[in-house]
Subunit: 283 residues, 2 copies
């Protein structure tokens, strides 16, 4: 862990400075946020729970890779409400020291997931050697430290900016429909850091015994009150065959009278129910 800026909102995230989570922090809180990079997601939650930071930003789902179940698990375990959301488009850039140029590059370092998301680029430039590295932003840091004119990294434009590197090729990812959704978390009772006039959403988790139609009955609590869903996902409870957790996002504030009635009804129908947060809809 390290400290980056000096003032205001202390925000924990997982990854190196310049990681996509760091971009999410800036999208949510602007440059006023003071960031605390952590190695593990659990650390991020723990720092916020202990009050060592004011906020946390964690990825929750990606359009190519699905939900980050580990973070749903932490949301269940810790009592840290979601107070905002945002989506970051995952754009991969080829990044090197400022004094080099693309034709000098021989090897490209990045996280294997990022390398694998740029296969068309590598097919078009077969002389480039792909070298796996621990982290996307970390690969930029390393390339800058070593100052080799033949080495490049694949990472966010923010990583290039932070480490003073040059972008040789922009947006070299195969799939432009690659977005990650992030949640801003705060401590219960703290004033929400993001205030917008956007319509509001509420994220829920509930479980039902998997008798036929139990999910259908649970959803009736929402549907019969004309509440709209933007996400539903089931997850089997391991060790409890035939029991499921459901993650649901509803377009309504938790204090909306229809939503309060729906939650009361859902409580009757579900074995377990937890409201993870109510927050303004992100872009």
């Amino acid at each position: 862990m390290g400290w980056w800026q000096v003032k205001s909102v202390r925000t924990a995230f997982q990854g190196e400075l310049g990681a996509f989570s760091h971009m999410a922090v800036q999208q949510l809180l602007g440059k006023r946020a003071q960031v605390i990079p952590c190695e593990r997601f659990e650390q991020v939650f723990r720092l916020l729970a202990k009050g060592e930071v004011d906020a946390a930003v964690v990825p929750i789902e990606n359009t190519l890779h699905g939900s980050v179940h580990e973070n749903y698990d932490h949301l269940l375990q810790f009592d840290l409400p979601i107070t905002a959301e945002t989506s970051v488009r995952i754009i991969h850039n080829l990044i090197a020291i400022p004094s080099t140029s693309f034709k000098k590059i021989e090897s490209v370092y990045s996280h294997p997931v990022a390398l694998n998301q740029c296969l068309n680029f590598f097919a078009a430039h077969p002389h480039l050697q792909r070298i796996p590295f621990y982290d996307t932003a970390g690969s930029v840091k390393m390339v800058m430290n070593e100052r080799r004119p033949t080495a490049a990294a694949i990472a966010s434009s923010m990583a290039a900016e932070i480490y003073g590197a040059k972008i040789l090729k922009r947006s070299i990812e195969d799939d432009r429909q690659n977005f990650t959704r992030f949640f801003l978390l705060q401590r219960p009772g703290d004033k929400p850091l993001v205030q917008t006039r956007a319509e509001r959403k509420t994220s829920l988790v509930f479980s039902t015994r998997n008798t036929p139609g139990s999910l259908f009955r649970a959803l009736s609590a929402l549907a019969l009150r004309d509440l709209n869903l933007t996400k539903i996902e089931s997850r089997p409870l391991r060790g409890k065959p035939w029991e499921y957790l459901f993650y649901v996002d509803v377009v309504a504030d938790v204090a909306d009278p229809r939503m309060r009635k729906a939650l009361g009804h859902l409580e009757e129908l579900a074995d377990f129910l937890k409201v993870l947060g109510s927050y303004p809809r992100g872009k």
Copy 2:
């Protein structure tokens, strides 16, 4: 691509020999399967579509990481029915050349995701240097080729067996609830390679316009016929705000009269519907 065994069912998968997908092939088809490792998921689907292999095995969801949306996209695009499913427990092992021992190991190679799933092990052995590598099974192959007594890899027990390496520590992963579910795919009309008396499941994809209650109405087609779901997941259609794809698994054969009626009903309610396959339930 390479050929491994000489006889019978030619099966494509993504990854190196000894990858977890390769374990899934053996769980589904036994050692009779002749495997064709591919670099990309898309290649796996294409080889099967062109008839260059008889079957394909692809991961579809993981208990920690969620659904592999890329493979759902390929299932939508290609017409290759699911004919079986299986789950593989992801067990990470520390693997090295047979002549070394744990106390000689200084550096550990593996895919960063695998390294990150063994953080408790590394916390207990802080002198071990973690070095990211392209692939879990590939890291065993490399360690065996270089024959350094101080290097180890993290991968499946199958990778140790294939490359003639020794397992120094078994099951060093942090979370034992780490399972990946795989689908066996064949060409339309081919005789299913896996025949069991297990109850049958059907996987569907459908889309609805997101008017309040549209999912609820679609699910009524299943619930009102007492059909049980084992999975439901929504995915926003990018570029089409407020439209969603839903992946649903139903416990019933596609030829079950209730299921046929439900599908007819669902077709009325959904904008788009595709049956991805009907197959015996896996363990």
